[in-house]
Homo-oligomer: 194 residues x 4
């Protein structure tokens, strides 16, 4: 693993546990096994670490759900694959997700350039889900709900699970199956054309 990568790994773990402002760059350097100067040699400023982490995460997630959505089958099948991909992704990438969701205010200042970049990426998350719903409504596998708002609720529920786990004050049971079943009950007709 290159020094640059080990810095990113260390930063992700520390930001997740202690927050961006609660983590010193010296601590990141120590954990990554490099000199403090090396952190700044590669990332120029502390904030860039955060941006790198968020960027990699959101990009990978959008790629993943796009791929999940594209497969064969009904709209509901696609949506179910997106759901499962999201639940698994969330389990694997807890730390980055914690960071990306907690430290948004850092990504929002400065005339909105970064904000626009991430907003655009995030919008695609809603879009992919809405497309699945519309496709499902076209092929009869999904009920006539508002595609946009429902896509939001799908996103929100998954996000909510992450936050409740990350919050740490409640012991959250495994809810994956319930979530999928729950959405199947609410959305799936069980009855696509042909």
């Amino acid at each position: 693993m290159s020094k640059k990568q080990s810095i990113l790994t260390a930063a992700t773990e520390l930001f997740a546990r202690q927050g961006f402002n609660g983590t010193a760059t010296s601590e990141i350097a120590r954990k990554a096994g490099v000199a403090q100067g090396t952190v700044f040699h590669h990332f120029k400023c502390k904030e860039n670490l955060l941006i790198s982490i968020c960027d990699e995460l959101v990009t990978k997630y959008v790629e993943g759900i796009k791929e999940a959505a594209q497969g064969s089958g009904t709209g509901w099948d696609a949506l179910e694959r997106v759901l499962w991909f999201s639940l698994n992704f969330m389990a694997e990438r807890t730390e980055s997700i914690t960071v990306a969701f907690r430290e948004t205010r850092v990504l929002q200042h400065e005339g909105g350039e970064l904000h626009d970049h991430f907003s655009a990426l995030m919008s695609q998350i809603i879009d992919v889900k809405r497309d699945c719903i519309e496709r499902g409504q076209a092929d009869g596998s999904i009920r006539q709900v508002d595609p946009y708002k429902t896509a939001f609720l799908l996103y929100i529920l998954i996000k909510g699970i992450h936050h409740t786990r990350a919050h740490g004050l409640l012991q959250v049971p495994d809810l994956n199956t319930e979530v999928v079943e729950f959405w199947r009950q609410s959305l799936a007709t069980g009855n696509p054309h042909q």
Copy 2:
């Protein structure tokens, strides 16, 4: 408004916008219109500000949903009141909620005393909802779902809405009605014993 209260108000707003670690006590003092020493005179240390904010918030919320749950009608009626109370509370207290949800790690160290205090309060949030569900299942107004996991999902969806709004990267539509309808569809039988 007493100086103590204006300090709390200022702190809440600043913590919400900039995070606990991203906010200086001097900034709080300035915004509250008091001297920096006054902040420490009333709160002894910065962390106590955070604890005050969280404590007041969670206590009020638990009181609110308990009251909402106690009213007359079926279990589903009670649950619906709890839902609406939660959605409204969330709209009114966005800042405190943002603070309380983001800065948990600060509340978790110190041998767990604080952690236990808040864990106990949070558990009641799940309990109240579970009670409604069980009451609804007893009176036939709510389907035979897992009361505990469903209570969690109720909590999670509401929490998810808050976080998605607070995240700021997506323009979140008003989803109150959809949320209630969605749960009605998933949970309510429409057919209590009465």
Copy 3:
């Protein structure tokens, strides 16, 4: 001497010897006998130290030459008093002058607000001298030279002496008498009206 003043004194001496960028604020604090935080408590940033030093110096100098110029006698008499005041002031305030003349670039950025402030003060230095010359030309005590350019040359020669001394590579002899005689020779008619 207040802590604030002792910080300024220490800073002046160190800036003069080592330059602004060559002097650490920690060094200033140590020399002034205060904690490093105290420097920033009083001056907010290192640059403000420099500005304070320059401001006090230029203000005092302008006051001094204005007062010297106002006295009785011919224009040449006034000019001679200004000259002597300048030469003495230069001897007494070598350190501040060194600082103020060497570190100008620090005073010039940022939309020119500071630049304008100091430019205005500096212009008065030329103005006072020019006024003396014009007064001397009116009363016949000073020859018909270009008042503006000559005022500049007066300023420049004094400034040059300071710099040559401060430069340190040449052992500069005492030139006060020569300078005054030199200007008398070049400017004074020895022959005012009445």
Copy 4:
């Protein structure tokens, strides 16, 4: 232009604008279009850049005034050529001069070896001028002033012009003609032997 030369050029410009301590070697490298290592490959340390700049400058200037002084004519004629050469040199080499005059303290430590080197060169500047004056006094073209102190004043006035321009807070008019006329008036007899 060789890489070494382009480094020197970049350094001169940056030192003049930002000072020696205010300029990073990385900035010099970037401006010169070379890698940072290359700077150290050619100059071993940052200070050597400064020494090169000063050395080249002072050497050229001493050569120039010596040549100007050697020509034919009276002592005053020689002095006038030296004056004009100095004024022109100053206009052409503003940046290096700014650097050499501002950063002397850097050239002064180290047991005095460098200090002695530059002191010797600087003394020659006074010597050349004094020689002209003495030659002029011998041939009757220059009045009976103190040759040494007057040489200093000549040097000082020229230096003063440079500093006043470089200071940047005053808009300095063109004074070349005035300076020469002014010295002619003070020094020249207009009346050499033969």
